[in-house]
Structures are given as C-alpha cells and as structure tokens.
C-alpha cells in the first residue's frame, strides 16, 4: 500500500488529496499543515474583513472532508527536512514520517524587503493567512488610518476589505501603476480612478523609504502618518525544503507537466511550483488558485499511479473592486484589438493565428470562451473572429465544433 505525504494544506493539497482518491481509494494519506486550520479559501480573507464571508463559509471543503477522504492531517506541524534517500520527512518536533510518494504543496510566503525602521512600527501586518486577517481585524478601528505597502492584487484586495471599516486607506507602490503585473498603463489608470472614487488614496512610483513609529517617509520625501501598516509587497515560493535536499529550483520548484520534480517520487504543486505557462511557452510560477488546484489534482493522480497531464496553465485573473471587475488572461504580446466606452475597456491580443491574451474591464460576459481559446490554442482561422471580437460567443465556432460542444457528438 502506498503512503502519500503532502507538505502543506492549502488548495493545492486539497486538489492532491482528491486526485489521489480518484485513483487509489486505499493508500494512506498524511497531510502536514503548519497552519492550525482545515483547508480554507485563502483569497477570501479580504471578503472576511468586508463581512462577505465568515469562519463557517470560508472553509474550502465540507467539515467531513479529511474523514471522507480518509486523510490524516497533522495540524500545527511543520516539515523541516526531506531525506530523499530514506524517503522520510522530518517534522519540527523531530518526528519522522516515511513516504512512498511526496507532494510539496507548501505555497508561498510574504516577501518583506528590508525597510529602515520597520522594527519601530508596532501595528503591522502581513496579509496572507486567515490568522493575518483575524489579527488585522482586531488591530483596526473606525478611526484607523491604514497604510498598505503594495498595490498588487493582495494589497488592493486588502484595501477593499478595509475601506468601509477604517478612517482612511492609503496604498503605495514603487510601480507606476496599480496591479502592474496584470494591467497595462491605461487599464490600470481606469481601475485606479475607480478605487479613488471609493476613497482609496495612492502614492505610486514612490514607496516607503523608512519608517519611524507611526510615520512612513516616502522616497519622494512625503511623510505619511498611519496607525496600521500592512505589508503586501509580494510573495516568494516556499522552495527551501526542496532546495536544501539538492532538488532543482528556480523561482519555484521546477515541475514537468505531470508535476514531477527532479527527485524520484517527489511532486510539487501550487504557489511553490514552477511549471510551464503555455501562453509564453516558458516556466513560471503562477500563483493563482485555479493553478494550485489543477496542479495539485494532477500531482495526486500521478502519485497514485494514474496519468494526468496538466499542460494548460496560463495566467488568468478575475479581480473586482467595489463592483468593477477586471479579467485578464494570457500574454499581452501581439496585435491589439480594442473597444472602449466610458465604463468598459476590452483589449484582445492576437498573433500566430491565436488569441494570445486579453484584458477586460467592466465587460465580463462569457469571458471563458476567450480564455478557453487561449488554453486550447484554438486557431483563429477556424472561428469567425470578426464576430468573436465584438462578443464572446460560441456562435463563432464551426457547426461541427458546436455539435461536439452542445450535441454530445464526439
């Protein structure tokens, strides 16, 4: 009987457990979880601050998840070493756990650059875990002035979550625009205006140079007083366990399309893994939840002796703030098709007879039709792209393709 061990207990781990059980009902599964919680929806921690979810609903799976999957979870325990020769994991308390197949699903950790004077700030938080959100929830009040360092997805979701509950929210970033990893200048400006209308203030192209208790001194010289500081500069893949045993690591743990690492019997999935982004044809960490689940599931199936290839990974994000949604996918290289109104913006990027990527703000209907064309590499010459540009519709596909999709004809 196989003994599966999973390091980490996030969504990638949940995918791995479900993947294993889809093939092997019997093997033992042990999950090592540093956080003392059943798997929860990490992206919902800002919704928790807003009151749009609560501790009951934030769970990723039902209360009987581990029991129904016959998985043993070690909560509050940390894996500190992997011994690939003995096929053993060492835990923080010295206990050793043997494995026949191992999945590293250790996620990522907040990255905090060395700011001068950061130690003098008392009320400071990261925004990665539910415990971070609960601590922040306790640390704020209606009179709090909050400064968030980082105008990326995590920082801005935090800003949205806090906006209605504190006196002011200011966000600063070295980048010259918000959401710089997914939006181009014009799209970012549109989103920024929307956020500003909802009371968020920005210092962009500028960031904190040093802190003195409750004041941040910006690179530009401005002094920003605050009561609560949130650090959301970026995240780093948790690769050290695997790196220390001599495994192949770049920014993340390098995996192939079946989530196998460079070490025999060891797989990796989720935010800690670096697989191929097919929209650019290069290895890349894609720290998004769908990727974590799909990689985890593929790892699980393969660990259990099945075969699941996951070769459809692309960056894709749907992120909304105060009712305005931005959807992005793929890469923004190629010829641009654009439609603009006062409240919406659509940008499609094409090249090599393919849809390469898109940015959609305020026009999200049936966007998955576009996304699937990127994931499936649908040749544009096989569809009516003139129709498709105007609106995402399956009517632009060939009659035969539609019969396959909707007529059950294979």
């Amino acid at each position: 009987m196989k003994q599966y061990v999973i390091i980490g207990n996030g969504v990638a781990a949940a995918g791995c457990i479900e993947g294993i059980r889809s093939v092997d009902p019997e093997g033992g599964i042990t999950v090592i979880s540093e956080e003392k919680r059943a798997v929860y929806c990490r992206p919902l921690i800002s919704y928790y601050l807003e009151g749009k979810t609560d501790l009951d609903r934030i769970g990723y799976r039902g209360a009987d998840f581990y029991e129904s999957m016959r998985a043993r979870v070690l909560l509050g325990r940390k894996a500190v070493r992997i011994d690939p020769d003995a096929r053993e994991i060492e835990l923080d308390d010295g206990e050793k756990i043997g494995y026949t197949e191992l999945c590293i699903a250790a996620g990522s950790s907040p990255f905090v650059p060395p700011f001068e004077g950061l130690d003098s700030v008392k009320n400071k938080y990261s925004f990665m875990t539910l415990d971070d959100a609960l601590a922040l929830d306790r640390g704020i009040g209606p009179d709090s002035r909050v400064l968030i360092v980082g105008a990326g997805l995590i920082g801005l979701k935090c800003a949205e979550g806090l906006a209605g509950r504190v006196k002011s929210v200011t966000v600063c970033d070295l980048a010259d625009r918000v959401l710089s990893s997914i939006l181009d200048t014009e799209c970012a400006a549109m989103m920024q205006r929307h956020l500003e209308r909802h009371g968020i203030s920005f210092f962009l192209n500028d960031s904190a140079a040093r802190f003195e208790e409750n004041t941040a001194y910006m690179k530009s010289g401005a002094a920003v007083p605050f009561d609560v500081l949130v650090l959301a500069v970026g995240v780093r893949a948790n690769t050290s366990l695997f790196k220390d045993m001599g495994g192949e690591v770049n920014r993340g743990i390098i995996v192939d399309e079946r989530m196998r690492t460079s070490a025999q019997g060891i797989y990796a999935a989720g935010d800690c893994a670096e697989g191929t982004d097919i929209s650019i044809g290069q290895k890349r960490v894609l720290a998004i939840l769908p990727n974590a689940y799909m990689q985890g599931h593929a790892a699980g199936v393969n660990m259990a002796g099945g075969c699941e290839v996951f070769d459809k990974a692309i960056p894709m994000n749907s992120i909304g703030f105060f009712g305005l949604h931005a959807m992005t996918a793929g890469s923004y290289d190629g010829e641009l098709y654009e439609e603009k109104t006062e409240n919406s913006l659509k940008r499609l990027f094409t090249g090599d007879d393919l849809l390469k990527g898109f940015i959609l703000i305020g026009c999200d209907e049936r966007a998955g039709i576009y996304t699937s064309m990127i994931r499936e590499k649908t040749p544009l010459s096989s569809v009516d792209f003139t129709l498709l540009k105007k609106a995402a519709t399956t009517a632009a596909f060939s009659a035969e393709e539609r019969r396959k999709k909707f007529g059950g004809v294979v």
Partner: protein, 146 residues
C-alpha cells in the same frame, strides 16, 4: 447521466427557454407575477449568428474547470451535476472567466448562478426542455462520461 442537448437546426430563436428557466427558478407559482415587466435572469441563453440560433446551458463537464477554479469552494460536482452553493459564492467571476461555454452568469442578487437541471426546484426536470415548442433542446442520456 442525462444532459440537455441542442439541435440548432430546430431552434426558432424564440427565447421561451429563457423565460421558462427564469420562472422555474423563481420559486413563484404564477408566471406573470414572476416575470412580467422585470429583467429576467435565466440560466440558459440563446446564442445566435446570422444563420442559426441555439440555447446554451451548463454542460455538466466531466472535467469541470469552473469547480477547479472557484476561489470560494462554492462549485461542486454531486452525482454528475455541477452545483453551486450561492451562500458561499463571493461573486469574484473567476468561474465566468474560465467556463468555455459561458454557462455562468450573475443572479439578481449578484452571486453566480448556473443550470442545475431543475433537479432542486419544483419542476424536477429541465423546464427549458419541457417548454421548448420545437424540441430543439432535449434532456437525454447520450453516453457522455460524467
């Protein structure tokens, strides 16, 4: 498992399926009360180009990318049917971003909704199929994998 299939050659483009869907899921017993003069939020929609029209609803995919992508654990597969727990949905639109068929759309309340084959409402079987005047959509077993 039985699914809803379309025969686009027979679709009249009358949009009745959309109305029957909205009514069946309204929880009301009077169609006029349920729909008249209000915007409707059906879980099936008629797509068309210059030549054809046909109704699209959730395919209850064997490998449901929506379930795998939902950031709130709100989508799940139960006995082959892809279901949504509206109480857990936070309306992030990730499922809309990934569904290859455009089968999810927001409900009146803002959270997502999708076809659940009317198995949970008073109709008990797809109301769209029942009401289609030309049998352009049918509910049957065609041996596709669950």
């Amino acid at each position: 498992m039985k699914r809803v299939y379309v025969n686009e050659a027979w679709c009249l483009g009358c949009h009745l399926c959309e109305y029957n869907c909205a009514f069946a899921n309204s929880g009301l017993s009077d169609m006029v009360l349920a729909l008249k003069g209000k915007p409707i939020y059906p879980r099936i929609h008629v797509e068309e180009n210059e030549q054809i029209s046909y109704a699209v609803s959730c395919r209850h995919c064997k490998d449901p990318v929506c379930v795998k992508s939902c950031i709130a654990g709100a989508l799940s597969k139960q006995d082959g049917v892809i279901r949504i727990d509206k109480n857990k949905c936070v309306a992030c639109y990730t499922c809309v971003l990934v569904c290859p068929y455009g089968a999810l759309a927001p409900s009146e309340a803002g959270v997502m909704q999708k076809c659940e084959l009317c198995l949970q409402n008073a109709c008990g079987e797809p109301a769209c199929v029942k009401g289609c005047p030309n049998r352009a959509i049918v509910y049957e077993e065609r041996g596709e994998a669950e």
